[in-house]
């Protein structure tokens, strides 16, 4: 069983939890351990409770454990919230003067033999004659000491991170770090001494949002139009801040409707463009999705799911927008739905989305979730970029009726044949029609694209032992907790993981359903939306479902506990 360790760095929104958390994660990675880092934060700018938890090990890790070994907290609310989520034998380090644990928390600490260390970070900052606002770095130093890691690695990471920050007294920061590292409260035996990965410091840590932005650049995408909305906002940031190197047009639009219309306009003209949003913004894009379906104009939308309907739980995770991705946009037209789970498939699937969207001239929706959009995945390398396939072709009629359903598409260009792209139903030449036969012919032609597309859709990937008795079936980030759980249990478990959600391939599911294996649907929503799709497409109905919809992701323990039942 893999030895894994989890450190949670917590405090209030506005205390630099995000920045210091990222630094800590990368420093742990650079210390030779595969690291996964998961953020929790409130839907406010200052206050509430926020945290960054690093799970690390010699082996690959893709999910968080529910209970962390160390908890370092800069603020009272975070400390009380997370105390009862510490593993037995864990350590609490906090910097809150005369903090009082509740009875229930004290009881938990006692029962689980948790050590509590109070560290007056402000005093140490003063002693290291550094400004008080740098006090939070002190606790990082002490944590590093507990872990028994090389302080130079963390120091290097801090210097690297703030190297472009003007008017920052770097040496004062380092003095605080060392102050914490040398804090005299010795706790032995908590070091993490698993085998280090060789030259793992060259490995990368990036979120699905960042991987999608990079994948779009690899796919030759030249424009990004978006309206900010958690959890997809950071894609605007990555593409905006790198716009000088890429030359991309990065435009914050005045609404989601404007953003997706500008994407459709740019794709219609023959460049590559996309947008990203969350559930509420995607609802506003649905009419345009239907228009792209009817006009067979390529369209790529990233739907970063978050918990709940309405405004919901804006900064927490969930995967309850599959039905919307599959069905939104009035009328019947072909679409493709993909779902990524980590950084690697996010990087690849956005490129596939562009190729599919241009080849089949259909809207493609790539589903992500707050859980992968905003978590740091540790990867050795990004895979090689996927060959750009544009499938541009001149022809007689832009909407020629063909067997494959794909009509010739050439981009508007001086000297080329003009054509009419028409959101009214139309004949091969694009002219509006009300003639029944033409309407049926064109509707059937468009739908044939789904059959053609399905031929090139890969089967879901099977992970785990062939002879596994229990096979979890899911999409998105659920695979990550299952794969991590495989390394923490003797039990033989398998995971059938869908990246290509629609059109849906059924062979593997039906094969497994005939075997004696226990198939368990695993979804981060309340109604088992993927299960409904599988029932519809493959006539297989799950008898066992592991559904979680409390706005938290699946933790490794959730899988292990389920297996125990």
């Amino acid at each position: 069983m893999t030895h894994r360790f989890a450190v949670k760095f917590a405090g209030e929104s506005g205390q630099g939890i995000n920045t210091l958390g990222e630094i800590l994660a990368k420093a742990i990675k650079n210390s030779g351990y595969h690291t996964f880092a998961y953020r929790e934060y409130p839907s406010i700018i200052k206050g509430g409770y926020a945290s960054y938890q690093m799970d690390f090990s010699s082996e690959e890790l893709l999910a968080s454990s529910k209970y962390s070994n160390f908890l370092a907290s800069l603020a009272p609310e975070a400390l009380s919230k997370y105390t009862t989520l510490i593993a037995p034998g864990g350590v609490i380090v906090h910097s809150i003067k005369d903090f009082e644990f509740s009875d229930e928390q004290l009881e938990y600490i006692r029962e689980n033999k948790i050590e509590v260390v109070y560290i007056d970070t402000q005093k140490i900052a003063q002693e290291s004659d550094a400004p008080l606002i740098m006090a939070n770095v002190v606790i990082l130093g002490y944590l590093w000491k507990l872990l028994g890691f090389d302080i130079k690695i963390l120091e290097k990471q801090i210097r690297n991170h703030f190297k472009d920050k003007k008017n920052l007294d770097m040496e004062a920061e380092i003095r605080c770090l060392t102050g914490g590292y040398e804090f005299e409260y010795e706790i032995k035996g908590k070091e993490f001494t698993a085998k280090k990965r060789t030259d793992w410091s060259k490995s990368k840590m990036l979120t699905a949002n960042q991987a999608i932005a990079l994948g779009a650049i690899s796919a030759g995408c030249r424009a990004y139009y978006a309206y900010p909305m958690t959890p997809s906002t950071d894609i605007l940031n990555v593409l905006g801040s790198s716009y000088m190197q890429t030359g991309m047009v990065v435009k914050q639009a005045e609404s989601e409707i404007t953003a997706v219309q500008m994407v459709m306009g740019s794709m219609y003209m023959g460049t590559r463009a996309f947008t990203a949003t969350s559930g509420g913004g995607f609802d506003l894009m649905s009419e345009t999705l239907s228009c792209a379906g009817m006009t067979e104009t390529p369209l790529v939308i990233v739907l970063g799911q978050r918990a709940g309907s309405g405004t919901g739980v804006p900064t927490w995770t969930g995967s309850s927008d599959l039905n919307v991705a599959l069905n939104t946009g009035h009328g019947e037209f072909p679409r493709c739905v993909l779902a990524s789970s980590d950084a690697i498939d996010s990087y690849e699937l956005i490129q596939q989305a562009f190729n599919i969207s241009e080849k089949y001239q259909i809207p493609v929706i790539l589903l992500t979730e707050k859980q992968n959009a905003e978590s740091l995945f540790n990867i050795k390398e990004l895979p090689k970029p996927i060959k750009i396939v544009r499938s541009l072709k001149e022809g007689k009629n832009r909407y020629e009726i063909t067997e494959s359903g794909i009509s010739p598409r050439w981009i508007p260009q001086k000297g080329k044949k003009t054509y009419l792209t028409n959101s009214d139903e139309h004949t091969a030449d694009g002219i509006s029609t009300e003639d029944p036969e033409s309407i049926v012919q064109m509707a059937e032609k468009r739908m044939r694209k789904l059959l053609t597309l399905k031929k090139s859709i890969p089967q879901p990937k099977y992970y785990g032992a062939e002879d596994a008795k229990v096979v979890f079936v899911g999409m998105g980030t659920t695979k990550n907790a299952v794969l991590d759980a495989m390394k923490q249990t003797e039990k033989e478990i398998g995971c059938l993981h869908y990246e290509y959600i629609f059109p849906l391939q059924c062979e593997k599911i039906l094969e497994l359903s005939e075997s004696k294996k226990r198939l368990v649907l695993i979804e981060n929503n309340q109604t088992g939306e993927l299960g409904e799709l599988i029932k519809r497409e493959c006539s297989y109905e799950f008898t066992e479902k592991l559904l979680k919809f409390d706005s938290r992701p699946f933790f490794v323990e959730d899988i292990l506990d389920f297996l125990k039942k």
Binding site: R222, A223, V238, G265, C291, I431
Partner: protein, 283 residues
């Protein structure tokens, strides 16, 4: 080249009512393109949904008939993808001021280099004559037996309040003048808004040819926005011509630092991008 109006005419039977102002608008528009020696394959026209949008069958070029209220947003995305093409957004007063007013407002703010033709026939014509913001307050319309209970929007005042770089008014009954105005709008390097007072004998018979003839007065560009506002606020006469133009402000894409040294258009740049140096940030 020998470009003529013929190159822009299509074989498709036109569906507007006899006497509809849309005929005049298309004549003026086609002539403007011909005069500027722009061939159909160099023009992208986005159409809205309404009688104006049914003009899609009447004129050649790369045409996209999209959704109601969205032709301006569609045109902005098309323009940015290939600034070599002349991009025109065609829209009705209903689509422009109701469903899609955000696109007009932020198009002006961003100053994209496209030309917007607003067919102001003072009603939602295609859905059989409902009131719009340009229908006179108090006028009896569809489902308003006692007249429209709300105020109007003066397109000129709204546009001029947003520091635009080009606002003009034209009249469907004067295609010649319309041609000159459209030519100036297309040549203007920025967001050109052209409000076209459009005859609609079916649902707006009161504003007929005579009504307009009595009110339309040609004017010359005003040097300041406040003068232009005075001109458009005039209720007796309807001033036509380029009413305000500001050539000092640069169009959106010319302001983009990262595009200043790039000669190609986005449609020519779909190649695998280099992520090596960006990726280093994630180590």
């Amino acid at each position: 080249m020998g470009l003529s109006i013929e190159n822009y005419n299509t074989k498709i039977k036109n569906t507007w009512c006899p006497g509809c102002g849309n005929f005049g608008i298309h004549i003026g528009l086609k002539q403007a393109l011909v005069d500027l020696k722009i061939s159909p394959s160099e023009v992208v026209i986005t159409f809205d949904i309404g009688c104006n949008g049914n003009g899609v069958d009447d004129i050649d070029g790369y045409r996209f008939k999209g959704l109601h209220g969205r032709s301006i947003a569609l045109a902005c995305g098309s323009h940015l993808a290939n600034r070599k093409m002349t991009v025109i957004a065609d829209i009705g007063d209903g689509g422009c001021l109701h469903e899609g007013v955000e696109h007009l407002i932020h198009g002006i703010r961003s100053n994209y280099d496209i030309t917007v033709l607003i067919h102001n026939n003072q009603n939602f014509a295609l859905t059989t004559g409902q009131a719009t913001a340009t229908t006179k307050e108090g006028k009896k319309m569809y489902a308003l037996p006692d007249g429209k209970p709300e105020g109007d929007i003066n397109i000129g005042e709204l546009v001029l309040s947003l520091n635009p770089t080009f606002f003009a008014r034209a009249y469907s009954g004067d295609p010649k003048q319309l041609t000159e105005i459209v030519k100036k709008g297309i040549k203007h390097k920025g967001f050109s808004v052209i409000e076209i007072m459009q005859l609609c004998p079916t649902y707006n018979p009161q504003s007929n040819g005579q009504w307009f003839k009595d009110r339309i007065k040609e004017t010359t560009p005003k040097s300041t926005i406040s003068e232009a506002v005075k001109c458009v606020k005039d209720t007796e006469s309807i001033y036509t011509g380029v009413i305000y133009q500001n050539i000092s402000r640069v169009d959106f894409s010319s302001k983009l630092e990262n595009r200043k040294r790039i000669k190609t258009e986005l449609v020519q740049e779909v190649k695998q991008g280099n992520i090596k140096n960006i990726l280093s940030k994630y180590q």
